[in-house]
Amino acid sequence: MNLREIHWFKFASPQNFYFLAGKMWPWFAALATVLMLVGLWISFFVAPIDAQQGQGYRIIFVHVPASQMSMFIYLVMAGWAGFGLAFNTRLSGMMASALAPTGALFAFLSLITGSLWGKPMWGAWWVWDARLTSELILLFLYLGFLALQASIDDPRRADKACAVLALVGAVNVPIIYFSVKWWNTLHQGASVSMKGSAMAAPMLAGMLVMVFAFWMYTIAIALLRVRSIILDRERHTEWVKHAVE
C-alpha cells in the first residue's frame, strides 16, 4: 500500500471523528469568542449612528448574521442528509441532526431580532412581508425536522426519514420563497450585494466580523453536539467505555 495515500474516509467513522471533533471544537469556540468580542466592540463603539434609524439600527449586527446562518445551515443540513442517503454513512445523519437545533435557534433569533427592530422602524412587531414570512416557514421546516427525529426511536431510521424530509424541504425552500415574495413586500432591499455596499465601511466591517463569529460558533457547537450524539449512539461499544473513563 502506498504510504502517501490519504485516507479520506478515515474520519467517516464515528469513533475517529469523535476524537477529531474533540481536538477541533475548542479552537472554533475560541475563534468564535474573539470574533464575537471584536464584532460587538465594532458594532457598539466604532460603527457610526445611522442617519435615518439612529441607534436602533445596531440590531442589524445580530439580525443579518442570524438570518444568513439559519438559511445556510438548512442547506448544509440537507447536504449532509443527501450525502448520508447516497453513501449510507452513519456520521452524515449525525451531523445533520447536530446542525438542526442550531439552525432552528438562528431562525428563531432572526425572527425575534427582526420584530424588535421592526417595532421602532415600521411601527409594528410583525408585518406579513415576504422575507419575514419565509423565515417563519423556514422555522416551521426546522421544527418539523426536529419533531420527526424525536418521534422515531430507531436512530438509523430517524436519520434516513429526516434526510428525505430535509431534501424535500430544500427543493421547496426556493419555491416557497418566490411564492411568498409574489404576494407582497415591505422589507428594505438588501444593502449588501456583490456590486458593492450601501453601508458605511465600519458598519460593513462589524457585520462581516459578526457573520464570521456566528460561523465559528455554529461549527464549534455542531462539533460539540455531534460528539454527544456519537457517545449516545455508540454507548454499547468498547471504545466509548474507554473514552468516557
Binding site: L85, I137, F140, L141, L143, G144, A147, L148, S151, I152, R157, K160, A161, V164, L165, L167, V168, G169, V171, N172, I175, I176, S179, V180, W182, W183
Partner: protein, 231 residues
C-alpha cells in the same frame, strides 16, 4: 416445473390499484364523507367567528375555502398507507417488480379522487354561502381542481414518512402544511387577482407547474420514504 411467468403490464397494475383503492373507499363511506363534512363545518365556522358582514366574507372567501380544503385533505392522508401497512399488502407492493413510485402514484391519484374531488364539487355550495358570484366561483373551482392533486401528491410524502410513528397525525400536519403554502398562495390568489382586474393566467400556470413538479418528484420521495419505513 416450468411455469410461465405471466407478465402484467405496468398500466394494468396501476389501474388495478386505483380500482382497489376506490372500492375500499366506497365500502367505508365514513372515511370519504368525514373530511367532506369537516370541510363544510370548518368553512361555516369562519362567518361565526368574524361576523356576517357581506363585504368581509366576500373578500375572505377564497382564502377561507382554500385553507379549509387544505385541512380537510390532510385528515385523510394518514390512511393512505397505514391500512396497507397493517395488513402487509404494502410490503408486497414494495417487493413487486412494478416500480414502487408508479404504485404510489396511483395511490395518490385514488386519494385525490376520493378526498380532493369531492371537495372541489362541494366548494361552489360554500361559495354561495360566502356570496361569491359565478365568475369567482368558476375560478375557485378551477384552482381547486388544479391544486388538490398537488396536495395529495405532496401529502403522500408525509404519509410515508410518518408511517407507524408515534403521534403520526399531528406530526404529519407539522411536516406537510409548510409545504402546502405555495399551492395556497396561488390558489387563493387567483380569485383575488381576478377581482382586482389582473389576469389569472399566471396563477393557473404556476399551479399547473407545481402539479407537474410534484407529479414527477413526489412519487420518488414517497417511494424512498416507504422503503425507509419498512426497513
Amino acid at each position: 416445473m416450468n411455469t410461465p411467468i405471466a407478465s402484467i403490464g405496468i398500466g394494468t397494475v396501476m389501474l388495478a390499484i386505483l380500482k382497489r383503492e376506490i372500492a375500499l373507499g366506497m365500502r367505508q363511506k365514513g372515511e370519504v364523507l368525514t373530511p367532506l363534512v369537516f370541510f363544510v363545518v370548518v368553512a361555516s365556522l369562519f362567518p361565526l367567528g368574524v361576523g356576517a358582514e357581506t363585504n368581509l366574507l366576500l373578500r375572505m372567501a377564497p382564502g377561507v375555502l382554500w385553507v379549509s380544503a387544505l385541512l380537510a385533505a390532510m385528515l385523510s392522508l394518514q390512511r393512505m398507507f397505514s391500512t396497507d401497512y397493517a395488513d402487509g399488502s404494502l410490503e408486497q407492493m414494495v417487493l413487486s417488480s412494478t416500480p414502487l413510485g408508479l404504485l404510489v402514484l396511483s395511490k395518490a391519484l385514488a386519494h385525490f379522487l376520493l378526498s380532493g374531488l369531492p371537495l372541489v364539487l362541494v366548494a361552489p355550495v360554500l361559495g354561495l354561502q360566502f356570496g361569491l358570484d359565478s365568475r369567482a366561483m368558476g375560478i375557485l373551482v378551477l384552482t381547486l381542481l388544479l391544486g388538490t392533486p398537488t396536495l395529495s401528491l405532496i401529502g403522500s410524502i408525509g404519509a410515508a414518512l410518518t408511517l407507524g410513528v408515534r403521534g403520526a397525525g399531528v406530526l404529519l400536519s407539522l411536516l406537510i402544511l409548510p409545504l402546502y403554502i405555495p399551492v395556497l398562495i396561488f390558489g387563493a390568489g387567483a380569485v383575488e387577482a381576478d377581482a382586482a382586474g389582473l389576469g389569472i393566467g399566471g396563477h393557473l400556470s404556476l399551479l399547473a407547474a407545481l402539479l407537474v413538479l410534484s407529479l414527477f418528484f413526489s412519487p420518488l420521495a414517497t417511494a424512498a420514504a416507504l422503503r425507509i419505513s419498512l426497513e
